[in-house]
Symmetry: C2
Subunit: 259 residues, 2 copies
């Protein structure tokens, strides 16, 4: 599934291209996990950092008006598939999941899973980002450190337990079905989103997550994390150089935010 | 479309029920605007404040596990339609819009509109809420006022112009088609979301929005606002007692946050 292999695959289906910032997993990562679990080739713009930055800056420019069939976009990640270009992470996942066999294509499950994924992204991505940038995305972390400490405290003590509790409730519910999965008795893209959410949050707040894990209140959530981690395609991906390390993105490690 | 009328409508279609907190428009409001524009009856739980609070607290309880066919939910708004119960505002809109004639049911437009709506909700709802609660949703505004002033400054000076600029780019793009609308040459639910976003943001930051309007950079956005406001069903709704006034919800007016 490396880029050269991807380009050698012959098929009538147009290829998938993920457009995202290089050098941190960020909001591109759930998209990558869907492709990797499904074993479906994709082009990852972030692998060519110069090209990625140029492409993204062009698409986000104040005078960029999209093209004949696609409206302008606000921010990455973006997905290109044939003539279609779309943005917004939960939207990209909604589009991809049924095509990759990771969600039903119609019926109530579409809306149940979309609600679950939107909520997991709120808790483990959007609100987590606020912990180190509660005042302004455009300013340095060091310039908003006192506020980041306060926001982190409420995240660690109130919000994170509440989102973990929600995930555990999903697992305890009848709708989770058999096995370790969130919904419908089989692996879906929601499980991959939760896996990345826990993985990133554990990197950012290791002591907090360890303490919450040891509380025994969220055993199903951590069992799901392990089950995703052991999926052969996910395991191979996490050990490959396609998986980018954490740095100055959504999930950052500032020890003072756990004090 | 008052509640008694709604209950008298005879049809094989199950009725729609919006479940949301009473006493502020909040995240329930875009859902109401879809029903009102479409002229489709709906039951609005918020109209019975005691009942609404009890229903919501039950559904959000730490031991609530959904039912046989619906997973537990995190927070309102919720939509009940027959046996289906779903939450997450953009998810509810995605479900309703094609049924109410406010979006196509299939094809690229589904994903283009979902991306537009997710971005508008980020800019005019989610980030706006952060301006008065940048530290903790669970704490009083008065206990986070200094941080709220800083966050509001970056919202007013950076984020709000950027989101307005995005909406204007959508209108300037080929994909907006004819007329004042964001996408595809006819009114969609995205236009209703932008209308409420501007309406609420103007309430919260009146001087800022007036200044941005007078800059002439976003004339299309404010023309769209006027066009939605003049829709007969929207106009009748806004003048009715079904429209709740702003109070201590998402959109609040604190003059000190504009200083």
């Amino acid at each position: 599934m490396s880029q050269p292999d991807a380009k050698r695959v012959k098929t009538d289906e147009p290829s998938y291209e993920l457009i995202y910032w290089p050098s941190a997993p960020g909001r591109g990562e759930p998209v990558r996990l869907l492709f990797e679990e499904a074993g479906v080739p994709y082009v990852d713009t972030a692998k060519d950092p110069g090209q990625a930055a140029e492409t993204i800056q062009g698409l986000m420019a104040a005078d960029h008006l999209g093209d004949d069939s696609n409206p302008p976009v606000f921010a990455p990640p973006l997905l290109r598939h044939g003539d279609l270009l779309i943005n917004q992470l939960p939207n990209i996942l909604l589009y991809l999941a049924p095509k990759l066999g990771l969600a039903p294509a119609a019926g109530p499950a579409v809306y149940h899973l979309n609600a679950i994924v939107l909520t997991l992204l709120d808790g483990f991505v959007n609100e987590l980002h606020e912990t180190h940038h509660p005042i302004a995305t455009s300013q340095y972390y060091d310039d908003q450190k006192p506020e980041a400490k306060k926001r982190s405290k409420s995240y660690r003590e109130e919000r994170l337990p509440r989102f973990l509790g929600y995930a555990q409730r999903l697992l305890d519910a009848k709708t989770s079905g058999d096995g370790p999965w969130l919904y419908g008795g089989s692996l879906t893209y929601a499980d991959l989103v939760l896996f990345q959410g826990i993985h990133g949050t554990r990197y950012a707040f290791p002591k907090t997550v360890e303490k919450l894990q040891k509380s025994g209140k969220y055993d199903g959530v951590f069992a799901l994390f392990e089950a995703v981690q052991e999926r052969p395609n996910i395991k191979a991906y996490m050990e490959s150089d396609r998986r980018v390390g954490y740095s100055q993105g959504i999930w950052r490690y500032y020890p003072e935010l756990e004090e």
